[in-house]
């Protein structure tokens, strides 16, 4: 890219110094806070971990009941912990992501 000395914001952009342009002008693009309704923000989250949670618990119940997951075996106990961790891992990702979207 050709070197140039930008003198105005348009030139800053055209010279390819977009990051510099943003940094120099300290331009922020805050979008006006929206009053998002509860059902827009949280209903999908509740449905995902509610209905999805039913499938998840049903799965845990089946593997325990059938003996496929045998709590007498140490490795199986550890796997049960991993399964529960996984549920809350995604719960936290989506929950914190939602909180960040509406608050930060």
């Amino acid at each position: 890219m050709k070197a140039c000395t930008p003198t105005a914001s348009a030139e800053l952009i055209l010279c390819g110094h977009l990051a510099d342009y943003n940094r120099i002008t300290k331009r922020r693009y805050d979008v006006a806070p929206m009053d998002l309704p509860f059902d827009r923000v949280w209903l999908p989250f509740i449905y995902l971990y509610g209905v999805g949670g039913i499938f998840f618990l049903f799965g845990i119940f089946l593997v325990l009941k059938s003996g496929a997951l045998d709590l007498k075996r140490r490795t199986h106990r550890r796997w049960l912990g991993v399964l529960i961790f996984g549920y809350f891992w995604y719960f936290a990702i989506h929950g914190l992501g939602t909180l960040a979207a509406i608050n930060l």
């Binding site: 890219m1 050709k2 952009i13 055209l14 010279c15 390819g16 977009l18 990051a19 943003n22 940094r23 331009r27 922020r28 693009y29 805050d30 979008v31 806070p33 929206m34 998002l36 059902d39 827009r40 923000v41 209903l43 999908p44 989250f45 449905y47 995902l48 209905v51 999805g52 949670g53 499938f55 998840f56 799965g59 845990i60 089946l62 593997v63 059938s66 003996g67 496929a68 997951l69 075996r73 490795t75 796997w79 991993v82 399964l83 996984g86 549920y87 891992w89 995604y90 990702i93 989506h94 992501g97 939602t98 960040a100 979207a101 509406i102 930060l104």
Partner: protein, 645 residues
């Protein structure tokens, strides 16, 4: 072309013109071609190198069941990210924001049933294909149905993969070399076909490992370049409206992209189909050195690799939306969503960087197509060729089947090219394949799921699920408002010609297929088939079947030893000394895993064997000739010996 000139030209051009021109400019750069050709050479080199690891059909289809979890995880990432993913998910994310990641972030709910149900069943029962499971669980007729369905689906997928990738590459290489769509398809097919045909599953796993790194690295690099463009994460974050940043879509307001529909279509039907019905994925898990490594691969993939992949494939859309908000002159609001990935990649990178992104898209294609071609060959050999040979009373050795598998892989590649050509010529055929896939997948999903988790589900129920399920799905499609509308969760009908209930139709399909399977099974006699090891409720038999005896779960230690060959040992056996046996907490007849000590080989030089007697040679493991050859152990290298069970 430099950025200022490009920006000035954009004022008079449509976004797609800009994308095409930017792509064509990259295609005329030697740096770009250097990267792309270098990538193809490396992939071909992988194929020829790993060809020597194929000594049997077990090697060719299942990589000798020897690989470590981390190798399988990364290769699954590459398989899961298709050629269309960068374009499709960038477009969805550009339109809908962070909720474009939903399809990648909702696969955990069925993991208990997968890692403690389906995975041990297929691994321990040595189920080589999904249709084979259908015969063992139901009858040959259901197997035949499943064979046809799987082959049509997978060959169609290979064709669509080739076509999608060629359409992505054509603006780039078409201008520079004058290549047509079919020229591009042939070049990629030859490269992919060669390494799949000669390298089999082992080559697929290792090339997918490389391709997985390339495409994740490319996506993350694009995100970091985007953040730099904005001047940091904070500036990027504030360039986006709050609703855009929500990780889940609107519940039911938008008929074309709503949370509840995507939940049923992707988190439920899609997850079950991906985990339980994908022949390619099943073969990948069968290539793991143990069920526990398969569990680790699955868990790590869903917990960590999928969220990273989601960022990799979606970030161009987020960056593009931010650019629209910040500098509408650079990327206009009216930009076509499908061009966002190419435009953002071109805007943020140099020619070399853009070449790398194109290599990533190509990698995404090849890593999906190679898996499906290998899976097609497995089904043709296992579910068509062998049964016909048995029926005709012919007996062939494994070498014969290995040669046949290689020829069928080559033939599968050519068939995929033919399918791509037909899809490119006849739009109706493309639509027909999509219709076939969406109509036949739910009955297949219901059959597998009920077959694994409900003992009472019988052959009559399986046939009814196939036939009745398809019929009910077609009825639902014919009268969507009256029938699927009952399950719509309040999703409004779309305006114009768009089909209603795009996503939520999956809920109706599942209810119809599961419903008919359950009702018919309850109204007919229970199956007389032996179900040992084939359902969740009879799974304890599966480990005994795999070992051929009672499992030994006494905890032991890993043995580090030198190795030597004793030609008098029977095939598939090894010996350790008495102290070694004690160290392993093993008995004669137990299964052991012998592996080169270098962990980073991921199990490439390893083998499974049975313990046969003891010797008096000290800290040495004595291998039968066949085990030494299967494991590809190197002279003078120490090995680890672990008891399996």
């Amino acid at each position: 072309m430099n950025l200022p000139l490009m920006l000035l030209q954009q004022a008079t051009e449509t976004p797609s013109d800009v994308a095409s021109r930017a792509a064509a400019a990259a295609g005329s750069s030697p740096v770009f071609w250097g990267i792309l050709i270098g990538y193809f050479v490396v992939v071909l080199g992988f194929g020829s190198y790993f060809a020597k690891f194929n000594r049997s059909t077990a090697d060719f289809f299942f990589g000798g069941r020897r690989f470590s979890w981390w190798l399988i995880t990364m290769s699954i990432v590459a398989t899961g990210v298709g050629s269309h993913s960068f374009v499709k998910y960038s477009a969805k994310s550009f339109e809908n924001g962070f909720s474009g990641t939903m399809a990648y972030m909702n696969d955990w709910f069925f993991m208990p049933l997968f890692i403690f149900g389906w995975l041990p069943i297929v691994y321990y029962m040595k189920v080589r294909s999904i249709p084979e499971y259908f015969e063992r669980r139901f009858n040959p007729f259901v197997r035949a149905l499943a064979t046809i369905v799987q082959l049509v689906y997978m060959l169609g997928y290979v064709g669509i993969g080739f076509l999608t990738m060629a359409r992505t590459l054509q603006p780039i290489v078409g201008g520079a070399l004058g290549w047509s769509l079919m020229d591009i398809i042939w070049v990629v097919a030859v490269v992919a076909g060669v390494y799949i045909t000669f390298g089999g599953q082992t080559a697929v796993i290792f090339t997918d490992l490389l391709q997985g790194f390339i495409l994740v690295f490319a996506g993350i690099m694009l995100f970091l370049l985007g953040l730099h463009w904005f001047g940091g994460f904070e500036a990027f974050w504030h360039a986006l409206p709050p609703e855009f940043k929500l990780p889940l879509a609107t519940f039911n307001d938008d008929p074309s992209f709503n949370f509840v529909g995507i939940f049923w279509q992707d988190a439920v039907a899609g997850s079950i189909a991906f985990l339980f019905m994908s022949q390619g994925l099943i073969m990948r898990f069968m290539a793991c050195r143990s069920v526990d490594h398969g569990r680790k691969a699955a868990a790590f993939n869903v917990l960590f690799a999928l969220p990273v992949s989601a960022v990799a494939v979606c970030c161009a859309g987020w960056i593009g939306r931010g650019m629209v908000n910040v500098e509408p002159g650079l990327l206009p609001e009216s930009v076509e969503p499908d061009t966002v990935f190419v435009m953002v990649a071109q805007l943020l990178s140099s020619t070399a960087g853009f070449g790398f992104f194109v290599a990533a898209v190509t990698a995404a294609l090849m890593s999906s197509v190679d898996t499906y071609i290998n899976a097609c060959a497995a089904i043709v050999i296992n579910d068509i060729y062998k049964p016909i040979a048995d029926w005709r009373g012919k007996s062939f050795n494994d070498k014969h089947y290995l040669r046949a598998a290689m020829m069928i892989s080559a033939l599968g590649t050519v068939t995929g090219v033919a399918a791509a050509w037909m899809f490119s010529k006849f739009d109706d055929l493309y639509t027909a394949h999509a219709f076939f896939q969406s109509t036949i997948s739910p009955p297949l999903v219901a059959c597998i799921f009920l077959g694994i988790f409900w003992r009472r589900f019988n052959s009559a129920g399986a046939v009814a699920t196939f036939a009745g399920g398809v019929l009910l799905i077609i009825i639902g499609r014919t009268w969507p408002v009256e029938i699927i509308g009952l399950f719509s969760h309040g999703i409004p009908l779309p305006e114009g010609d768009q089909a209603p209930y795009t996503y939520i139709g999956a809920l109706y399909n599942l209810v119809a297929c599961f419903g008919i399977g359950i009702v018919v099974s309850l109204l007919t006699k229970p199956s007389a088939n032996k179900l040992e090891g084939l359902t969740l409720w009879t799974i304890s038999y599966a480990r005994r079947f795999f070992k051929g005896g009672e499992p030994n779960d006494r905890p032991g230690f890993t043995l580090v030893a030198t190795w030597e060959i004793d030609a008098s040992l029977p095939e598939g056996t090894v010996q350790v000394d008495a102290e070694g046996l004690h160290h392993l907490a093993a008995d004669e007849g137990d299964l052991v895993y012998i592996c080169d000590r270098r962990w980073w080989l991921g199990g490439l030089r390893s083998a499974h064997a049975k313990l046969q007697g003891v010797h008096g040679l000290g800290e040495t493991v004595v291998l039968s000739t066949e085990i030494a050859a299967t494991g590809h152990f190197l002279e003078g290298r120490m090995v680890n010996v672990e008891k399996e069970f």
